[in-house]
Symmetry: D2
């Protein structure tokens, strides 16, 4: 298997490198007859885009998306939709020093061992930049799911480094560069300012949810809804942990407390299971949490080796995010949307259509 395709019925094939001519994706399987233009996609790309605050990489990319196919007179035709994003702010010289060395925590070493060759410019294919096509494809899925089932997706950052962020309300998320669900982000700004000056980086914890999810999505053995969510999330750069519902807190739970009582009308008293039972959506909100490790690009020197096996010391100059978690929220939402979209189409295939929440 080639590996760069997400999904099989709503199949997103991702291509490109950080400093090549372009990145993009082909979406194959989009239902026909949906109104679609660049204006549906660009806002999501803008949310993910670098250079929007001093807390993220200063690379200046407009991330302008172009629809090359699959849309006729403003409507999807059911044929593949190619989305192209030209790279415009490549600075290959910034990365010249990592050509012969492997940055710890990065994919440099493993690409080298896997393929025997790697594109070192800006991390090449392993750059976080390659999440842009995912976000673009997610925007298409989100529009269809919203129109068809009223399904929506929301995410936020709930912890940055050692600093836990409370939850005051979804309405705050878009009002700050951290996607933090709080009114006052000065504590986060202070934390990040100290971090940036130290040349170090930190991790983050994020939450992503879906509302109005149809009941019955998920193939119950192996290709479960929760399994595919876990794959999508863990497949994002730097993610090291995924939880659904109560996640690791469930370990210390008793069954008498954990199991969500079912109420008439197919509602539930609680949502410890995060919207999934036996691998299948139960109509409650999908609740997912992810752990993002600290950025591996550091101004702090690190021990490593070079391509001929000699020990070297590595400092990563150039532009990078001190906390990759800061820009992760729109990506997690897109990934969750892609998983739900895939399973909605699978459910239509086998069972004719999905159950709408009552």
């Amino acid at each position: 298997m080639s590996g760069n395709t997400f999904g099989t019925l709503f199949a997103v094939t991702n291509f490109g490198e950080s400093h090549g001519p372009a990145i993009g994706c082909v979406i194959d399987g989009c239902p026909p007859g949906m109104a679609l233009s660049e204006a549906d996609i660009q806002p999501e790309l803008d949310r993910r885009r670098p250079g929007t605050s001093k807390f993220v990489t200063q690379r200046n990319e407009p991330d302008q998306v172009e629809i090359l196919s699959g849309v006729y007179q403003g409507q999807t035709t059911g044929t593949p939709i190619c989305l192209l994003i030209r790279n415009t702010d490549q600075r290959s010289k910034d990365y010249g020093d990592i050509l012969q060395t492997f940055r710890p925590g990065h994919a440099d070493y493993t690409y080298w061992r896997k393929y025997g060759i790697r594109d070192p410019r800006g991390g090449g294919r392993s750059s976080a930049r390659l999440t842009a096509p995912t976000v673009a494809a997610g925007a298409v899925a989100r529009k269809w799911l919203q129109q068809k089932y009223g399904t929506t997706f929301k995410g936020c950052m709930t912890q940055v480094g050692e600093l836990a962020i409370g939850f005051e309300g979804w309405e705050h998320v878009q009002g700050n560069p951290f996607f933090a669900p709080v009114a006052d982000v000065s504590a986060i700004e202070d934390y990040m300012n100290v971090l940036r000056k130290s040349g170090d980086s930190c991790g983050a914890r994020l939450r992503v949810t879906a509302q109005n999810v149809p009941v019955g999505l998920g193939e119950p053995l192996y290709d479960r809804l929760d399994a595919d969510i876990a794959k999508a999330m863990m497949g994002l750069n730097a993610v090291k942990g995924v939880e659904i519902g109560d996640g690791f807190a469930s370990v210390a739970h008793k069954g008498s407390m954990h199991g969500d009582a079912i109420l008439p009308g197919g509602r539930f008293e609680t949502n410890h299971d995060g919207g999934v039972l036996g691998g299948i959506s139960n109509g409650q909100d999908l609740e997912v949490a992810v752990a993002v490790k600290p950025t591996s690009s550091l101004l702090v020197p690190r021990a490593s080796i070079n391509t001929v096996g000699e020990p070297v010391e590595v400092i990563t100059k150039g532009r990078h995010d001190p906390c990759v978690g800061i820009r992760a929220t729109p990506i997690l939402e897109a990934l969750l949307a892609l998983v739900v979209m895939e399973h909605a189409l699978r459910q239509r295939a086998q069972c004719g259509d999905v159950s709408i929440p009552e």
Copy 2:
């Protein structure tokens, strides 16, 4: 997509229900020329088997595996290997009371909503019994990986309910029914005895690792090694969280501490990343942790509804595990082996062969 197949190059298609005539799987893609008999598979099934201590379900199943195809004169031929396990201890009457009601925390409700029909006997397809074919297939993968690369898999329980279990050594794991890596399991026994008498259930935390993993396994975008591990683990019944390497602890880490320094010879100073960098194995041990929620089958009454939507109270009689995590260790090992096997074959396809750790 049909959903009941794990992997594409080493493809395991699982079939069966808890109380049907048989369960099993078809393994398609096994390399030819490997010695294989039931004796290679049965020991792993015996490790997972119910009825082996008073702390697990008392269902008495020999779980005797039969190879129906794909092996000639004791060697794999490269053709599909069908593994069959007859069900022998079905007691359909035990489950008569759940025919019309949905047990909270179980898949009853979601199967009903998804398919409009469900086999309620012993949980039908959502029973933990269906992990037996996974374990059987895993045994085949483990044998091949062991012979080809020396790769091995180990797991243990590290927490049961509120009770953390220390790690004293892998050698203890096989000496107790909990797969606990400690010499003295009396504290666990006491905990479980109290739990059983209360009619309640509890969660568990488990660890699973792989040693001597080839370098370079994993397709770096979407079908990453870590992504597929997360999918495999989260796809197991009752799992609600997955971590790779330091997992959620990474959130509070600094980059200067987290990134694993690379040493000459392709060794690493630490293993915070759990053996995966950029979605690709780096030759270190794969380190995975999972959270298992408390068993949803309880003697404690729970509020629910029946198939016509009326409120009911549910007590789950019959046989079940008070902590499904107890028997999960061999299953997690099998799942990890299946993921590594799949990616080893993928690596051979694209790059000719895998890199053996130096």
Copy 3:
């Protein structure tokens, strides 16, 4: 890819060898809620079954199918359906002489070169016996398609060796062992009697059609309906040619004559295109023809080599069909049904549902 699975949404995974303990398949993706029992499948297996006349192999196999999973109280549940057929009339000694030699025209040599090992008993996996699970799976697809869309499948033999068979009517097909659409098959009997006595074998030409096919089936680039039909047909043992509609006769056609004029109501004046336009069904009958090569098992001596490369002379004793085309009709019908089923589910996934012919 493992290769032994037909379809992805209605996925049939085939296993077994001619002289192993059993053959069978797992159907994954069958829609739930359809009444299904062995009685729906057995008649199709009986049509394909060996030993029913003196013109086919005398192997005596009841081909009794057992449903192992996926059905509860007589209804499909949406979970995998395992169909098992035990082998009962194995005579391994008959095949002892081909262990070390490669029969010309058979798969002996290529299996050996591909896998380095082969099961020589009765052709092992390359035996025509492995078409039985295909026929069984096809019976499930046929029932669903018939109930849902009224789609039906019919086939017949139109030529045997040099002997062209006229078409007098579908009603004759079931009345003779050749699936010939003629009232009087004495010419065919005479032809076959002469052939059998000579120890030689011959080819055949067959026709298979589908009626009441929904409009709109087929993904227009690569996974076209006609492409998948061609794959299914050419994938059957001994098939060397496939035609859709006018097939090779189209070469000499003029466009003014070939293109099927479209009439109000979505009907067509002619059916030169065999029911497919641009890879998509147009609602007309699917019309397919296949060429089957002569059986490679002969009493006539043939030059070959053995496993150490020395020249040998091979005569194939044992039981075999002098014309494998004779029993091919029910298999071709099943294959066509599996292709239509797969594409019907694909169409439901992307477009919500299929168009019924008006």
Copy 4:
């Protein structure tokens, strides 16, 4: 399934419409470390390109290919290779008259019924123009197969309309616009001139072969080499028949004549089976023939209906090929290369590597 991807290990995802901004493909799974530039691909596109003689469509497209990803410093990196071809000679007005009517023999009607919407400009997605990305991807596969195994691909036209073309030698094929293997093509020119003047179109028969094919390619049940060849060929626009080896002539063969005797060294006396036995390559040349139906675009009036179901008369003005078979040769070669490539990688996955012909 989305349907627009060819292959799974060497996966080519095709996108674009005849008169959209661009067409192209993403190749996922290409082995790393192969030298690759546009200069490897452009010659094959030039062979297929329109406007090169008066016997083909006069659309003037340079078909300039651009590599957008997957290549670094002139070498493949193992990551997806996006190939882009901008459309430059769109004349949407030519097709305005077919917006509301369905051309007989074209995909207009079936796209409409399938998707409820279609892009009518130049046939949209069903245009033969979409074979360009296939040819481009095939060029990549051809280079790898040539370097790795010495495998080469050749094709020619063997019949045009009623006019059979003899075979005088491969060396003639590149010397005329018909890909005819004869020195003197004046008879073909005369035939085509008469045809063009009549406003009518005709079919063609083509042959495509591969030399130095590794032994052992093909998964023997369902995903056979011959099955995948048939799918690839029948999946090409206008193809209505496929033969492997002796094809339909095999029907009248006797087994004593047909079966290819095996000689020491793994050579064969004859090649009636066209290089495939039991679905697996035997090391002989692959021999394939296809039937192409007459172009459906005609100046001769045809009966049809419009989108509201009323009867209309259709004449297809605009630019088109009077015999689409004329430009089919490079496409068939590319398709055959893609099938061989896919199976070579599959063989490496399961069996470690392929067998080179001795």
